[in-house]
């Protein structure tokens, strides 16, 4: 398979909306229980951007650089092997140039710091990302204003941002719109909210679109997450 076909066949494109940085798909959120595959989904979203020859900043809170890099290498290998991608090695080397990982300790993360880093990167011409994924962001301890700030920053830098969040336990944690805590009451800040949850009588995880445009909701029904490889696919039984 060629790279072009891979981009077109990649089911993840539905999730991301029309263009990477349109206002209607500015911020996305992936929610799930711990260990359900949030990072995997974020990495796939990032890889899709990379395959389109655009640049990505991956912000990882609490995870090490090596571990994050390994996620990319593994996911790319799975994708490349799954569809027998030609020149996989070359494509890998080329797209990884467009990726930059920034890791923070849990206690050290702050919006101001992130903004400063991103400005630094752009000023030094190291990278000009069109997509940023933020993994391990602590929504429990975050004020709404921080997210509003991030949204503004995204707009100013013409970025699309995807977050991951761990669902709190308990059925009563869900708000009226179906967005579970800790993000209850923040849904208006996100254009797309995806909940990863197990499908009854199946091994697969379903991508429940809680919020999103009509096109995103439509395709959401068709997408599943394979629990073994944590890859998104359209034909999972």
């Amino acid at each position: 398979m060629l790279k072009k076909d891979l981009i077109e066949k990649n089911p993840i494109r539905h999730l991301k909306g029309e263009s990477d940085a349109k206002e209607s798909s500015r911020m996305g959120l992936v929610m799930a229980q711990a260990g359900a595959g949030k990072t995997a989904l974020l990495v796939q979203i990032a890889l899709d951007t990379l395959l389109n020859d655009k640049q990505v900043v991956h912000v990882s809170v609490g995870q090490s650089l090596d571990k994050t890099k390994l996620w990319y290498d593994d996911m790319f290998k799975d994708i490349a092997e799954g569809c027998k991608l030609e020149n996989a090695g070359e494509i890998h080397d080329a797209i990884m140039r467009n990726r930059m990982i920034i890791t923070f300790n849990e206690s050290k993360f702050s919006l101001a710091k992130l903004e400063e880093r991103l400005h630094d990167l752009m000023q030094q011409n190291v990278i000009k990302p069109s997509c940023m994924v933020v993994d391990g962001f602590d929504f429990v301890k975050t004020e709404r204003t921080v997210l509003e700030g991030l949204r503004e920053m995204a707009k100013a830098m013409d970025l699309q941002i995807w977050f991951s969040a761990v669902c709190s336990d308990g059925a009563d944690s869900q708000g009226a719109t179906g967005v579970p805590a800790p993000c209850k009451g923040m849904e208006d800040l996100f254009n797309t909210v995806v909940l990863l949850q197990p499908v009854p009588q199946s091994d697969c995880l379903e991508l429940k679109i809680i919020k999103g445009s009509a096109a995103v909701s439509k395709c959401g029904k068709l997408l599943k997450l394979d629990p073994q490889t944590l890859m998104i696919r359209e034909d999972c039984k």
Binding site: L65, M96, M100, T103, F104, K108, D120, Q124, V126, I127
Partner: protein, 692 residues
């Protein structure tokens, strides 16, 4: 023979200037191996005992891993002084192989620095259990708590203090042992008189909290202790056993503190080495079965089994070559005959000694798990010795990483010439990653190795130890060439005018291969090339590999297949077919889309966060791919992959960019294709050199 469970083979590893050598010196003093204390940069000019090389003494750094032996409370401790520089990769790796446990020394002010991160990573790779010692608690600005936090954050170790210092900086009194809940003072001029007392009241509360934390962490490793803690009756033995279990599983790192310079805490560290670090049978070591494709086999650690010993270090002594060996199983006895697995040669154990840096002690035998030195055995570093030729095991893989950098050296006079060859002969034996050869075109002597500093140190050693003054050329990166597609050839070598003629024709193809350097495949059917000339073709191809047509770099990853050919009854000869193969290779090489590859280094630069932007910019300028950054406190670590050719002089650049506040380490990562623009430059340069 000594009880194997009472042997400890430990390494001491640290960032430069954390006081490693001073600590070793104190250990030797307290274990009564030496009777006076000297300082590393001592005024008395004697210097610490472990740094046996003059160069190390001058620079205040440790390069070679000399082994030394001492006794502590009925246990034998072999200390292997590990080098702190990543550039000496094989040296570090070999030292890490032979040791079972390690003491990680950290400066209480400097904390975890980039060197510690690299060494820690290597230790994790080799599964070396470790205890941490926070040294220099007497220095202004000492903050052990911050260092412990760094151990957790930066090195991802489950570091838990098992001691509390009584006072810091100038007024450090002593230490409180949280296991036994006793205050310990170090009296006497050299701190050798230990006084145990009750914990002073002002530290009581802090100690209770810290002990609680320690018990929480350590009870994860023992159900018995967990129950006892709940009942409020944990005993000293239970806690120590649990700490040991945790340490051996590498899931727990006990942290001790003190100041070697002011003689505080060293004896307690020795107690911890004996109590918590593994003895040889606690560690799984593996030998490679050479009869079964280097399959891993666990060594038995049994002194009555056949011998398996690894020569991990050579030294040129007054009485000939001294070989440091570690036995993994079996017994090494004076008068026994042993076999070098690599060469298959037999040798007799003449003198067996236990080393104490420069002094030695004669012994008759060494049991399994011990570290001793042999005299008069001819071998290279990394060789394995066994008791017989039918016992075909090796402790190290025969694979050695290829050098990535080279430079030319020219002796200044005839005397230097002689000394230089002596020195080179010695170094290549000691260090398989250090290679030397004479360039047939320029007739210059070329040395090659794993990094700039690696070669620098050998050039220095040549001057100091062998009095060989040499002038050094500019460093050269070891480029490689390879092909990217299959190409055919059909070449006839013919010279049949006058005298004896030459005739040979070979046809076939060359193709890229993923792994390995070169392969020759003979697919001739029907004898179009006579049997006796097949090896000639192979030889011809191999001659082409030394210098590729693009920039004259070594060619790798090529499979040459011959499918057809022709010969002449009289004029065909070995040389004719060699030349035909060379011609064929050259014909096909251009068509096979050759490309140049360069060594890429994994670089980790660390500095204050405010310089992050400029460090990244500087790496970016050097064609580096920035993998990512990691922020910790006010420091940021930037990881990048940068071509080695761009890294020359980077340390100076980095220092001037960051007011000397940043440092970096690098390790060889992989060979990768050179970008087109750079490749063109290289080719043009090679062409120019050829014309000259």
């Amino acid at each position: 023979m000594r009880d194997i469970t009472k042997v400890r083979n430990i390494g001491i590893s640290a960032h430069i200037d954390s006081g490693k050598t001073t600590l070793t010196e104190r250990i030797l003093f307290y274990t009564q191996r030496i009777h006076a204390i000297h300082e590393v940069r001592g005024k008395d000019g004697v210097g610490a005992k472990m740094d046996s090389m003059e160069l190390e003494r001058e620079r205040g750094i440790t390069i070679c891993s000399a082994a030394t032996y001492c006794d502590w409370k009925d246990h034998a401790i072999n200390i292997i002084d590990t080098p702190g520089h990543v550039d000496f990769t094989i040296e570090v790796e070999r030292a890490l192989r032979v040791l079972d446990g390690a003491v990680l020394i950290l400066c209480s002010v400097g904390g975890v620095q980039s060197q510690s991160i690299t060494v820690n990573r290597q230790m994790t790779r080799y599964r070396v259990p470790r205890v941490a010692f926070i040294n220099k608690c007497d220095r202004t600005g000492a903050n052990p708590d911050r260092v412990i936090k760094q151990l957790r954050d930066k090195l991802a170790l489950n570091a838990v203090p098992i001691q509390v210092p009584m006072g810091l900086e100038g007024d450090m009194q002593g230490l409180i042992d949280l296991v036994r809940m006793k205050a310990i003072y170090f009296d006497g001029e050299n701190g050798d008189k230990i006084r145990e007392e009750e914990i002073p009241t002002q530290y009581k509360e802090e100690c209770d909290i810290k002990r609680e934390e320690m018990l929480d962490a350590v009870s994860m490793f023992s159900d018995e202790l967990m129950e006892a803690v709940l009942e409020g009756t944990p005993t000293e033995e239970m806690i120590m056993a649990a700490i040991r279990t945790g340490t051996l599983s590498m899931e727990f790192t006990p942290v001790m503190m003190g100041t070697a310079y002011k003689n505080k805490g060293v004896q307690l560290l020795l107690d911890a080495v004996v109590s918590y670090l593994p003895c040889p049978p606690d560690v799984d070591n593996f030998a490679l079965d050479l009869d079964h494709d280097e399959a891993e086999v666990k060594v038995s650690n049994n002194s009555s089994d056949p011998l398996l010993a690894l020569a991990f270090k050579l030294e040129d002594g007054r009485y000939g070559q001294l070989t440091y060996v570690r036995t993994y199983q079996g017994t090494l006895k004076k008068g026994d005959s042993i076999v070098n697995v690599r060469t298959g040669k037999k040798a007799k154990v003449g003198r067996l000694v236990r080393m104490h840096s420069d002094d030695m002690e004669e012994i008759d035998e060494a049991g399994s798990g011990d570290i001793v030195a042999l005299f008069g055995i001819d071998c290279a570093s990394g060789d394995t010795f066994t008791s017989g030729s039918d016992y075909n095991f090796s402790m190290t893989s025969m694979h050695v990483p290829a050098p990535v950098i080279s430079l030319s050296i020219t002796p200044v006079d005839n005397k230097a010439q002689d000394n230089m060859s002596k020195a080179l002969n010695r170094f290549t034996k000691e260090d398989p990653t250090f290679k030397t050869f004479v360039d047939p075109e320029t007739m210059e002597t070329i040395i090659s190795g794993m990094g700039e500093l690696h070669l620098d140190v050998y050039v220095e050693r040549m001057k100091r130890e062998y009095k060989a003054e040499v002038t050094v050329g500019a460093p050269q990166v070891a480029y490689r060439e390879t092909i990217t597609q299959k190409a055919e050839f059909n070449y006839t070598h013919k010279k049949q005018t006058g005298g004896s003629g030459q005739f040979g024709r070979v046809a076939g193809f060359i193709e890229p291969m993923e792994e390995g350097e070169y392969e020759f495949v003979d697919k001739i059917v029907g004898g179009s090339v006579p049997r006796e000339y097949i090896p000639s073709c192979d030889k011809g191809f191999q001659k082409c590999l030394d210098k590729g047509a693009l920039v004259g770099a070594h060619v790798t990853g090529v499979r040459c297949t011959i499918t057809d050919g022709a010969s002449h009854a009289v004029d065909s000869s070995d040389i004719a077919f060699q030349l035909a193969a060379i011609g064929g290779f050259k014909e096909a090489y251009g068509k096979a889309k050759p490309m140049i590859m360069e060594p890429i280094m994994k670089v980790a630069a660390e500095g204050p966060s405010e310089f992050q932007g400029s460090i990244m910019g500087s790496l970016n300028q050097r064609r580096g791919i920035i993998i990512g950054t990691n922020e910790e406190d006010a420091y940021t670590v930037i990881e990048a992959e940068v071509p080695l050719s761009e890294m020359f002089g980077y340390s100076t650049d980095l220092r001037s960019l960051t007011q000397g506040k940043a440092e970096f380490t690098m390790e060889f990562a992989a060979y990768r294709q050179v970008p087109k623009s750079v490749a063109e430059e290289l080719i043009a340069k090679a062409l120019k050199n050829k014309k000259q």
